[in-house]
Assembly symmetry: C2
Homo-oligomer: 285 residues x 2
């Protein structure tokens, strides 16, 4: 998915929010906004939103000399989600269809996104996502694919969301490689946040080899690209993975909430929709 003009105001908002989280002075905040505007003007027509997001967050980290402005909120999100873990597991244990419930729980965690909002109501989101009608619901495709593969490549998204992923991974019938970012960007999970959420107890943790948002293959390590190429089932969480991989031919099941109106319109659903979308390759299984 390419950057729409509607994304421009949102990028400025994100840049300002990130600059403040990084402790930038008002003068530096203004400089960061000015540099963000220069980046927008120079952006190529086929750039994806995560590419632009990555530039903004790198700019903020460098200018504010703050290697990980979201460290505190990532820790808080993990703690908050850890406290919910027993409730989440109980939902799966008592479910008529544990896979359906576990998938919905993983999608619930996708609300934890500091690129979109500054606060989140996890309990309310859980209620909503568990019971929402999903306008795109390829759960049957995912269920069938899970019966045919011997492992899953699971592309993580944000810190805290990791715990919700863990509940899904615990419900999967095959081993999982859990892919995090190789370095901090926004509130995306790195190895540190994945381990804090205990993902090392349920999966092998690997990384994309870069600190880009989503999984822009050209920027990822060759080791990751090789894993990606060989994977027979990829679960990709969240907007950035969707935005960077929706045009890639691979057996992907995207799990996300269409949190912003631009991505919702691109997918053709209402904002806030629950999306379980199998790629064309996966549908052909």
């Amino acid at each position: 998915m390419r950057v729409y003009l509607d994304c421009w105001p949102c990028f400025l908002r994100q840049a300002l929010s990130a600059a403040r989280r990084a402790g930038a002075s008002p003068k530096l905040q203004r400089l960061i906004l000015e540099e963000t505007m220069a980046e927008l003007r120079a952006l190529s027509a086929d750039a994806t939103p995560p590419e632009m997001g990555e530039r903004i967050h790198r700019l903020v980290r460098e200018r504010a000399q703050s290697p990980d402005p979201y460290l505190d909120v990532k820790r808080e999100a993990t703690e908050q989600a850890l406290a919910l873990l027993p409730v989440l597991r109980a939902h799966v244990e008592t479910a008529d269809d544990p896979l359906r419930t576990a998938v919905r729980i993983a999608i619930t965690g996708n609300i934890i996104d500091y690129g979109v909002a500054e606060t989140f109501d996890l309990e309310a989101t859980l209620e909503r996502v568990l019971h929402a009608e999903a306008p795109i619901d390829d759960l049957p495709v995912l269920r069938q694919a899970l019966g045919e593969v011997d492992e899953v490549l699971y592309l993580a998204d944000n810190a805290g969301e990791t715990l919700f992923d863990r509940v899904l991974i615990e419900a999967l019938p095959v081993p999982v490689r859990y892919v995090v970012k190789a370095g901090p960007v926004l509130n995306d999970a790195t190895r540190e946040e994945a381990i804090a959420a205990g993902l090392d107890q349920v999966a092998e943790i690997i990384d994309t080899g870069c600190d880009a948002m989503g999984a822009p293959l050209a920027l990822c390590s060759s080791a990751f690209r090789e894993r990606f190429r060989r994977a027979r089932l990829i679960i990709a969480k969240g907007q950035a993975n969707y935005e960077t991989l929706s045009g890639v031919d691979a057996p992907i099941c995207f799990l996300l909430q269409a949190k912003c109106s631009v991505i919702a319109e691109d997918i053709g659903v209402a904002p806030g929709s629950v999306i379980i979308q199998a790629s064309e390759v996966l549908r052909r299984y």
Copy 2:
């Protein structure tokens, strides 16, 4: 009130929305965003949000060669509000305190603001504003002032909102001069929209002498400035009048909803708050 950095994303959003309303092609939309960013970079530190808004809307009108991009929505807003007029009047007629109710109705109309949102729910807003606790409620000051003056200078805001103003004007005990913009800007009322709402039946319609948002005195005509200087009671509707006049020494009662979080924080209230704020000069009456 000066422009905050938080206003920058909002200005880009407004510029894009206005460009589309003006029928700009995607290429021209992008050019307009780029020029808006250049204006933001060049903005002086003491500029007010309406000053920047005015530049954006002038830019859009010129580049898209569309003298009044909001003409259609102004007409629709007037029609929608006209249909509500009997309900609004009935509220005042049956009120224990007609002035209080009429003031709340005038503030209800302030929701019609295409600078802040693209759609409005007038009925829901009416319910909310009629019954809301106003964190700043200088109605007693306004009531007393109305007993001491022999006319009111009433600074209008947006088309459609004019009808809500009309209900308040019908409840005032003294004659009113109703001040509109001299030319189109955003969805602000000009003489045309004031007459369509029947304001000529309840007030003398004059204008600011310019098409700036709010009432930046330096840009207004000397005739308007003279009226303003001589006025013993000024009712100023909406955010732009607040933003341009909150620092001016004059007997003003501001009536507005603090629709954006920046203005709400500047005033020190929650976003969405109902504001009935008398200036220092008015309080001394």
